[in-house]
């Protein structure tokens, strides 16, 4: 039942993501049975490709799991899949278990609330929608990530696994 509600919501928001994809040259793939959405986007700054993966089980009662996928190997969560947005504040990239374990640190990412993640123990998953500001839809989150790789001052290129 919950999965059906989530599927309907994801399908609706997927249309918004596809609209942005048309403008920005993204590629969007969705598996509505698995409740996953992947968005492949290119940095306008240096042409590097990034793939954002949304795992939407339980969405939007809970935020999606937002992971980066290596654009060539398809490996989920590898540090080389991430961008470095630390050119100015506020930035997204943070580290869980060392510099080779980056996380997109925002209230919209369920990984930040995982029991084995120690980044923000003061954040409550049930409050994610009120805490995430305007970034509570898949389209808004995708646009936020695109914004991180489109600002030549903020964006520092592909993350190299170093602090």
């Amino acid at each position: 039942m919950q999965a059906d509600v989530t599927r309907t919501l994801v399908e609706r928001q997927l249309a918004d993501v596809r609209e942005l994809a048309q403008t920005n040259g993204w590629e969007v793939e969705a598996d509505l049975d698995a409740l996953t959405v992947e968005v492949r986007m290119q940095s306008p700054v240096d042409g590097e490709e990034y793939v954002v993966r949304f795992g939407c089980t339980g969405y939007d009662e809970k935020p999606p799991h937002v992971e980066m996928v290596h654009p060539e190997t398809g490996e989920v969560g590898h540090y080389e899949a991430y961008f470095d947005d630390r050119g100015k504040n506020p930035f997204l990239i943070a580290f869980d278990d060392g510099p080779e374990d980056p996380v997109l640190c925002h209230q919209y990412n369920r990984r930040v609330y995982d029991d084995d993640t120690d980044l923000h123990n003061n954040w409550t998953v049930g409050d994610w929608q009120s805490d995430a500001g305007t970034l509570t839809t898949l389209g808004d989150i995708a646009a936020d990530i695109y914004h991180r790789i489109s600002d030549s001052e903020r964006y520092q290129g592909r993350y190299d696994g170093q602090r």
Binding site: V45, H106, L135, D144
Partner: protein, 94 residues
């Protein structure tokens, strides 16, 4: 200073001092806006954000070729006429 959808209604009756472009949001909004070219990017983005019902937080636009537009520069600095951009907010992070 600006009015959404006016540009389309005016057709080619657009002054040289104005620029019109379409703004999409992550929530499916898509409208054409017209601004004076001297308008700062940040001011235009705030107006669009309010029109779309966002609580603006230093918003700006991302252009697919030009990247993120500097909020403090005038729209005239960019080649936006007839183009489509994406509205983004300056959101929190770490």
């Amino acid at each position: 200073m600006s009015e959404s959808n006016d540009a389309a209604e005016r057709g080619n009756d657009q002054g040289a001092s104005d620029v019109s472009f379409t703004v999409k949001s992550g929530r499916g909004d898509s409208q054409e806006f017209e601004f004076q070219k001297g308008t700062k990017v940040g001011d235009a983005a705030e107006e669009v954000a309010e029109t779309y019902g966002y609580d603006p937080d230093d918003p700006t636009f991302v252009h697919p070729d030009e990247g993120e537009l500097d909020r403090n520069k005038p729209l005239a600095r960019y080649h936006l006429d007839g183009d489509t951009v994406t509205l983004v907010n300056e959101e929190r992070g770490v």
